[in-house]
Amino acid sequence: MKILVPLKRVSDPDNANKIKISGGKVETTGLEWKPNPFDEYAVETALRLTENGANPKARLGEVLVVSFGPKEVETTLRAALATGADRAIRVDATDDQLDGDLVARALKALVEKEKPDLVLLGKQQVEGDSNQVGQLLAEYLGWPQATFAGSIKSENDTALEVHREVDGGSMVLKVTLPAVVTVDLRIVAPQSVSSKHSPAHKYADGVRFAALMAIMAAKKKPLVEVKLAELASDTALKIKVTGYEAPPARKAGVKVKTVAELVQKLKTEARVI
């Protein structure tokens, strides 16, 4: 199975409360770039789907990773190559030249060129939280989608049974490939991804780490640059961000000493029970 995984780097999501807003802009100075966590899960999912239980050294298929951004995003791509992806493409662009719709349209052109069986994406990137590129891409391609996948079972690599994490529980869908799947948190649990050629062992919970040897080897894996204009002729944005503001601060609360005091305050002060 050939799988395309789009990746994005984000400013360290565990320190998102350290961003500064000045002059209507967000400043992330001092925050490290990290791969978007959901995109790392998508890479892990792709690697599991192409695993060869009979011969771990020869995976079945190809995992192609792509990122939109300046030269520095190659760090993110190399990291994915080090964990096992085969090939990488960087689409040269800056963040302010892009919105989710343009990324989806450019990805459509890339899909038509590369002809993957499956596009796997994180369900959202954790800066903008827009949760849209996978669905937009699926519609532009005329492909089925399975969003918020918590588990995936490949049926002979021609169809996938996907458990989607939805508000009321889990919705099970069967999609025939080629398709777009976006992944949720639980996709990297030990037994969330399976195919007929999965290895017998259970996976560790979470994403795999790259060994030093693999990091060295990743430097030799193919990484090519493509210009945005080669993939999208219309680069007009459909969303314009006119500014940012800080959220209203919550006023400081109080510590109570006993359960009785808590109940009394909830009844007479907050009047919520």
């Binding site: 849209q132 999609v175 029970i273």
Partner: protein, 316 residues
């Protein structure tokens, strides 16, 4: 004048409360609106939604719309959107799955998960949370048609205003090839007597500290208060609570009148999903836990003694 089409979200034939938040969005935008109801059985929901001051309630009813698959819903929503300028969907798992496909069909820009709207001289501008709720972005959609998804926690549910909007049938649009390549297998719905997280006035949420005693400790409190039960990501990942209970940036975003965070440390991602709650109570034995920075009332105690004591005290 520009008009808004609100796409209803149904559960078992009835409008979910998230739909009423999307109606509030339309009212705040100050534009006339209609409501579109899709499903295999729409009459109950259409009747309910006729009492909210919509110009019309449009219904697309067909057996093929029994399950909310984006590939099947998007063509009909896009067709019904002719004559409307803004298409508003709920920012739930349903709406987030559907809205981008509708936007792509219409060539429209999509503003997801909006928390505010302003109308200056007919031009709409939106506010939406980013960076785990640490920055609100102001956005405009540059295309003539616009699609938005409305964050339920930031728009109060509309109240029925009486009256009866005319109910009109609309055609179910033909689907594309994508629809034939996706098949609904089943919905494994969580069986719960409790209210939905998005609809509850009180939420009792627990963290990893509860371990296997998650339900045993929280259920009596939730039952007593008629509360929904929520969980931190850590509790869900560890299997102490099912994934659909997760509250946070990437789970459910909630804003109840009263939120109990029990044994939850308060990671940024969790705070992003509950900071909008009116009153927050935190119970945690670690006095340094970040959850105390957003809590109105903090109790530094072992939850295994504090929660049962709280139940006893509330019964008095």
């Amino acid at each position: 004048m520009a008009q808004i089409l609100v796409v209803a979200e149904l559960s078992e034939g009835h409008a979910r409360k998230s739909t009423l938040s999307a109606i509030t969005f339309a009212k705040q935008a100050g534009l006339p609106f209609s409501i579109l109801v899709l499903g295999a059985s729409t009459s109950a929901a259409a009747q309910e939604l006729a009492a909210f001051g919509a110009q019309k309630v449009l219904v697309a009813e067909d057996a093929s719309l029994e399950h909310p698959l984006a590939e099947r819903y998007a063509p009909t929503v896009a067709a019904a959107a002719a004559g409307f300028d803004v298409i508003a969907v709920t920012a739930s798992s349903y709406g987030k799955d559907l809205a981008p496909r509708v936007a792509a069909k219409l060539g429209a820009g999509y503003a997801p998960d909006i928390s505010g709207v302003t109308n200056s001289g007919g031009k709409l501008a939106y506010k939406r949370p980013t960076y785990a709720g640490n920055a609100y972005a102001h956005v405009e959609v540059t295309t003539p048609k616009q699609v938005v998804s409305v964050r339920q926690s930031e728009f109060l549910a509309a109240e029925a205003s009486g009256g009866a909007s005319p109910i009109e049938k609309v055609a179910v649009a033909p689907v594309d090839a994508a629809a034939s390549r996706v098949q609904f297998v089943r919905l494994e719905a969580a069986k719960s007597e409790r209210p939905d997280l998005g609809e509850a006035r009180v939420i009792v949420s627990g963290g990893r500290a509860l371990k296997e005693k998650f339900a045993e400790v929280l259920d009596p409190l939730a039952g007593l208060l008629g509360a929904a039960v929520g969980a931190s990501r850590a509790a869900c990942d560890a299997g102490y609570a099912p994934p659909e209970l997760q509250v946070g940036q990437t789970g459910r975003v909630v804003a109840p009148a009263l939120y109990f965070a029990i044994g939850i440390s308060g990671a940024i991602q969790h705070l992003a999903g509950m900071k909008g709650s009116k009153t927050i109570v935190a119970i945690n034995k670690d006095p340094e836990a970040p959850i105390f920075q957003v809590a109105d009332y903090g109790l530094v105690q072992d939850l295994f003694t504090a929660v049962p004591e709280l139940v006893t005290e509330l019964k008095k």
